[in-house]
């Protein structure tokens, strides 16, 4: 069960994502200039500032050669997890609905956040408890979609994570912290599960996201 973690110029969380994935399986880095996903069973688009976040966060990375391969991989049902900048990239690539706007508080914010797992029966949350405590660190994390899209996301169970009451520091609409696509194989979230996989850093709650993906990959190959 091998994860592939993308690496763009300006990525900064790819090593933590690699370590997190290795807690539950095998993992390797995939350079942005390649179109060869090397047969991985899941892709992680990591956090950071891909291509300097020039123009808009994720706007340039979305056209990287590796993203062409990831878009095909996702269309064929492959599991794709986007964290923070990775979430922004997946939205720009139209693999996920909506967009990320500057935080309502206008600040880069780095803090532990409490999350509610809204849907626990998905390929990304199956191993998760009802609530998670993991870090978030971003200045462009305010989830936005138009009202009709938000209604549809909620009705179809695509909102997987919400900020707990009083925890929505970035002003995300309807407290949304993480959403999946309609097919259920692409998931993006602003907080960082890969930074919460060892007691050393205060929480291991992020591990359940990777463990859920491992279970889904094993199920697919069973």
């Amino acid at each position: 069960m091998r994860f592939g973690v993308l690496q763009f110029p300006g990525s900064c969380d790819e090593i933590d994502a690699l370590h997190a994935a290795r807690r539950v399986g095998d993992a390797e880095l995939l350079w942005h200039g390649t179109q060869d996903l090397k047969g991985v069973a899941a892709v992680v688009v990591p956090g950071g500032f891909s291509y300097g976040d020039y123009l808009r966060a994720g706007a340039i990375a979305r056209f990287a050669p590796v993203m062409e391969a990831v878009i095909s991989f996702a269309r064929e049902g492959g599991l794709v997890l986007g964290i923070c900048n990775g979430f922004q990239v997946l939205c720009e690539a139209h693999l996920l609905p909506g967009a990320l706007l500057p935080n309502a508080n206008r600040r880069f914010t780095s803090r532990q956040v409490q999350l509610e797992v809204v849907q626990g029966d998905t390929d990304f949350t199956r191993a998760c408890p009802a609530s998670l405590s993991i870090p978030a660190k971003h200045s462009w994390g305010r989830y936005y979609a138009d009202e009709a899209t938000l209604d549809e996301l909620e009705a179809s169970g695509q909102v997987l994570l919400r900020y707990a009451p009083t925890e929505n520091f970035n002003g995300s609409l309807r407290d949304i912290a993480g959403v999946r696509n309609a097919a259920g194989n692409v998931f993006g979230l602003m907080p960082h599960p890969e930074h919460a996989v060892d007691p050393l850093t205060g929480s291991t709650d992020g591990l359940c996201i990777f463990e859920s993906m491992r279970l889904a990959m094993e199920g697919a190959h069973a």
Binding site: L55, P102, R142, D146
Partner: protein, 77 residues
């Protein structure tokens, strides 16, 4: 052909930069300035101005959250 693309946050979308500037102006004694919005300006030379809309839709703007306006700068265009 020289072109200028103005990109603005869509109406109704919270613009924290614009709000911050709107609050800073009165502090400097400039009263009566309202509805401040901050966007981006892209200037470029293009061989085929007909491609500008497509450039905006695909890369320069995110149509979900931004409006764009294309201006052709060469006289007589």
């Amino acid at each position: 052909m020289r072109a200028r693309v103005l990109i603005r946050p869509k109406a109704g979308i919270l613009d924290p930069q614009g709000e911050a500037v709107a609050r800073a102006l009165p502090a400097l004694g400039f009263t009566g300035a309202r509805n401040v919005h901050i966007g981006r300006l892209v200037e470029l030379d293009v061989e085929d101005p007909a491609q500008l809309d497509s450039m905006c839709e695909k890369l320069l703007a995110n149509p979900l959250i931004e409006d764009y306006e294309v201006q052709l700068l060469d006289p007589g265009a």
